[in-house]
C-alpha cells in the first residue's frame, strides 16, 4: 500500500560554533547523512542555513517523515525547533532533492530570510509555513551548485 504523502516545515536555531570552515564541515556532514538516509526513506526536501537559523522541509510517506523528524529532534546541533506546518500534501515541492541546500556560512545576513524567520519564531503568522517554503524554493533553485556539492 502506498502511504499518503506528508510534509513538515520547521525552523530552528543553529547551535554550531566555530570558524566558518568548521561550520561548513558540520553542514557537509549533515547533508551527506541526510542524503544517504533520505533516499532510502523516500524522503525529499530542502534545508536552508541563514542568519544562524535552519529552515527545513521534509516530504515523504508519513511514517518516514515522522521517523526522520524524530531523529532530527534528538540532534544537539540545533534548538528551538518550531514546526510551521505539518500535514498531508498533494505533491512534492522538491521531487529532485533528497535534501536540497541553500546557504552560505559566513556570508552577510540575508534580509529576506531574516524577515521570514522572525515571523516564524514569533509564531504569530499562520502563513509562515508557506513563506518559508517559498523562501526555500527560491534559494534552493538559485544555489543548485551547493546542492550538488
Amino acid at each position: 500500500m502506498k502511504q499518503e504523502l506528508y510534509r513538515v516545515v520547521y525552523c530552528s536555531r543553529v547551535r554550531l560554533s566555530g570558524p566558518p570552515a568548521g561550520i561548513v564541515g558540520h553542514l557537509r556532514h549533515i547533508l551527506a547523512t541526510s542524503r544517504r538516509n533520505n533516499v532510502r526513506a523516500d524522503i525529499s526536501g530542502a534545508l536552508l542555513f541563514a542568519n544562524n537559523c535552519f529552515a527545513q522541509t521534509l516530504e515523504g510517506p508519513r511514517v518516514e517523515v515522522e521517523r526522520c523528524f524524530e531523529r532530527i529532534q534528538n540532534d544537539p546541533r540545533h534548538s528551538d525547533v518550531t514546526v510551521l506546518e505539518f500535514g498531508p500534501a498533494s505533491a512534492r515541492e522538491f521531487p529532485k532533492w533528497s535534501m536540497g541546500f541553500a546557504g552560505e556560512p559566513g556570508a552577510a545576513h540575508d534580509p529576506l530570510a531574516f524577515v521570514v524567520f522572525e515571523g516564524a519564531f514569533a509564531g504569530e503568522r499562520p502563513e509562515s509555513g508557506s513563506a518559508v517554503l517559498g523562501l526555500l524554493h527560491g534559494l534552493v533553485r538559485r544555489e543548485e551548485a551547493w546542492a550538488l556539492a
Binding site: 517523515v65 524524530e70 534528538n74 534548538s79 514546526v83
Partner: protein
C-alpha cells in the same frame, strides 16, 4: 541433581528448611524479586533473605513472613476447624503471584508462577519497554544498598500530556509516550536506570550523585521539542525533581519523597524546568500538612464563619442581595485568608463538604432576611465534578432553610467551563430548573471568551475588581468595564461591578451601564448578625423577585 535442576528452572523457586533457613534460591527467583547483592548462601534466615528482595515493598515482606510462619505452625499442629490440608497459599502482589507450599516436614517452597510470561515481563512496562515501578524499587534498593552509596534520582512528570491525550486520543497519547521513552533512553549512559512509573511519570536513577542537573537541563530542552506523531503535531514539556544520595537521603523511600517534593516545586514554579530538593521544601510540606490537618477539623470545630457583603442595585440604590464570603478564624493562626486555604481545600477535596456547609448556612441566613433579598454563594469547580452531589446539596440547603430557589444565586468562575463543558452545562441547567440564578464571577480575568458567555444564558456577569481599581488610572480599566457592561446588556445579563471603593468609581459604573455594584464604598462584608442593622441603614428593594432573564431556556 535435584538441586541443579531447581537452580536452572525458568520459574522462580526458593526453598526454606523447617527452621526457615534458606536451602536454595534460583536465578529466576532472584531476578524476579529484584535481588540485591551477591547470590544468597545456604542458611540465610527468611528475614534477611527478604531484606535482599529489593522488588518487594515492606508490606509485601511482612505478609510473606506471616504466611510462612502460619504455614509452619499449621504443620506442627493443624488448628481445629482449620483445614489441615491448607498447605498452600497464593499471595498476589500486583503483577505477580507467589505460591507458598508447605513440604511435609521439610520446610517451605516458594514459587513464582510466571503465568506464561517470562520473568522479564513482570518488571517491564509493556507500552514503552522500559522498566516498571517494581523494577524501579529493585534498582533503588540496589543503588542504596550501602550507607555511603552515591546516587541521584530524577522524577519526571510530563506537562500538558493529559491535554494531548484528551484531544488527540489514547492511541496518539500512547505513541507519544513511546517517543518520549525513546528520547529519554537516547540521553542516558550505561548503568543509568530508566523506568516508567505509570501514566506520564518517569524516573531516572543515576549511580552517581553528580551530573544530575546537566542531564535534567538537557531533558527539559529535549522533551519540550515538538513531536510528530501519527500525523499530528504535539507539544509537551517536562518538569523534573532531583534528590541525591547520600546528601538528601540514604534510604530509598526518603529519596523518592524528596525528589517528589522537588518535582512539586518545579511544577509550582511554572513547569518546563527542574528543581533540586532543598531542606526548606520539607518544612514547607510539613506546613502544608499541618494546614490540611487544621482544615479538616475546622468545620467540626465551628471555625468557619460566613460574612455577607451587600449587592446594590444602581438604579434604585436598594440592596437586592448579599454575597456570602467564607472566613476561617483559627485559634492560633488568626484569620486565614481564603486565597491560602481554598486552593488547598480544592486540591485535597475538602472543598466539597466545606462548600456544602456554606450552602446550608447561607440559605438558612437568607431565610431570615426580607423576601426580596437574595443570597449569592460561590461554588468551586471541584464541586461540579460530582454534579449529582452538588444538586443534592442545593436541594437540601434550600429545603432545610425553607428558601425558594429563586433567592439563591450561584457564582461560578470561568474555569468551571473549561473541564467537561457538556456535563457542567447540564448541571447549570438543572440548577436553573430549580429557579436558582447563575452568575459568572471574576469575569475578564481568566479564560473569558465570548463563546463561553454564549454557551449558557448566565443571569449575571460580575466584572472583576481589578478593572474597577483601574478606572481612575490611565490604563484600560474604563474601556473594559464599558465594553463588558455593553456586552452583558446585549446578551440580556445583569452586570455587577465588584470592588467599588470610591464615589468616582460608583459614578462611572452608573454612567457606563452597570446594573449592580458591590464594594467597600457600600459596605464591607459583615457577620450574619449585622445584616439586619445594615438593612435598616440601606433600603432593601421592594419589588418581589422574579425570573428576569430571557424566556425559553
Amino acid at each position: 541433581m535435584l538441586r541443579a535442576a531447581l537452580l536452572g528452572l525458568a520459574d522462580g523457586v526458593i526453598l526454606f528448611d523447617p527452621g526457615l533457613r534458606l536451602i536454595l534460591c534460583n536465578a529466576a527467583a532472584r531476578h524476579r524479586l529484584g535481588w540485591v547483592g551477591a547470590p544468597p548462601r545456604r542458611g540465610l534466615t527468611l528475614a534477611s533473605w527478604l531484606d535482599h528482595a529489593g522488588g518487594l515493598d515492606p508490606a509485601e515482606r511482612s505478609v510473606i513472613r506471616e504466611h510462612c510462619a502460619a504455614l509452619l505452625a499449621g504443620d506442627a499442629a493443624p488448628a481445629p476447624g482449620r483445614d489441615s490440608a491448607a498447605a498452600e497459599k497464593d499471595l498476589a502482589f500486583g503483577d505477580f503471584t507467589l505460591r507458598l507450599r508447605r513440604l511435609d516436614g521439610q520446610g517451605i517452597m516458594i514459587s513464582l508462577a510466571t503465568g506464561g510470561d517470562d520473568g522479564e515481563a513482570a518488571l517491564r512496562d509493556p507500552l514503552t519497554g522500559l522498566g516498571n515501578r517494581r523494577a524501579f524499587q529493585a534498582a533503588l534498593a540496589a543503588a542504596l544498598a550501602r550507607a555511603e552509596s552515591e546516587a541521584a534520582l530524577l522524577l519526571l512528570d510530563l506537562d500538558r500530556f493529559k491535554h494531548v491525550n484528551d484531544s488527540l486520543g489514547h492511541p496518539v497519547g500512547d505513541a507519544l509516550l513511546r517517543l518520549v521513552a525513546q528520547r529519554l533512553r537516547a540521553s542516558l549512559r550505561a548503568g543509568d536506570t530508566l523506568v516508567r512509573l505509570g501514566g506520564d511519570e518517569f524516573a531516572i536513577l543515576l549511580p552517581r550523585a553528580e551530573g544530575a542537573e546537566p542531564l535534567a537541563e538537557r531533558l527539559v530542552d529535549l522533551l519540550s521539542r515538538p513531536y510528530l506523531v501519527e500525523g499530528h503535531l504535539a507539544n509537551i514539556g517536562v518538569s523534573i525533581g532531583i534528590a541525591r544520595a547520600p546528601a538528601d537521603a540514604t534510604e530509598g523511600g526518603m529519596l523518592l519523597r524528596r525528589a517528589d517534593l522537588a518535582l512539586y516545586a518545579a511544577k509550582a514554579a511554572g513547569r518546563r524546568q527542574f528543581c533540586r530538593f532543598r531542606p526548606e521544601m520539607d518544612a514547607r510540606a510539613q506546613a502544608r500538612q499541618a494546614l490540611e490537618t487544621d482544615l479538616r477539623r475546622a468545620v467540626a470545630l465551628g471555625q468557619f464563619h460566613l460574612y455577607y457583603q451587600p449587592l446594590l442595585e444602581v438604579a434604585s440604590g436598594a440592596v437586592i442581595g448579599f454575597e456570602a464570603l467564607l472566613r476561617w478564624a483559627h485559634p492560633t493562626r488568626g484569620m486565614v485568608s481564603p486565597t491560602e486555604f481554598i486552593p488547598l481545600a480544592e486540591e485535597v477535596g475538602l472543598i466539597v463538604p466545606i462548600g456544602e456547609w456554606v450552602l446550608r448556612q447561607a440559605c438558612r441566613a437568607a431565610a431570615s432576611w426580607p423576601e426580596t433579598v437574595l443570597v449569592a454563594v460561590n461554588v468551586s469547580p471541584v464541586q461540579f465534578a460530582d454534579g449529582a452531589r452538588l444538586l443534592r446539596a442545593v436541594d437540601e440547603a434550600l429545603a432545610g432553610a425553607g428558601l425558594s430557589g429563586m433567592r439563591l444565586e450561584i457564582e461560578i468562575t470561568e474555569s468551571v467551563l473549561l473541564h467537561d463543558a457538556a456535563e457542567t452545562l447540564a448541571i447549570l441547567h438543572d440548577l436553573r430548573g430549580r429557579g436558582v440564578r447563575i452568575a459568572m464571577d471574576d469575569f475578564g480575568t481568566g479564560y473569558s471568551s465570548l463563546s463561553q458567555l454564549r454557551s449558557f444564558p448566565f443571569d449575571k456577569i460580575k466584572i472583576d475588581r481589578s478593572f474597577v481599581s483601574e478606572i481612575e488610572g490611565q490604563s484600560g480599566g474604563k474601556a473594559v468595564v464599558r465594553a463588558i457592561a455593553a456586552l452583558g446588556a446585549s446578551l440580556g445579563m445583569t452586570v455587577t461591578v465588584e470592588g467599588v471603593e470610591t464615589e468616582a468609581q460608583a459614578h462611572f459604573v452608573a454612567s457606563s451601564g452597570g446594573h449592580q455594584m458591590q464594594g467597600y464604598l457600600i459596605s464591607r462584608p459583615v457577620p450574619a448578625d449585622d445584616v439586619a442593622a445594615l438593612l435598616a441603614r440601606l433600603p432593601a428593594r421592594t419589588a418581589r423577585l422574579s425570573h428576569e432573564t430571557r424566556d425559553g431556556i
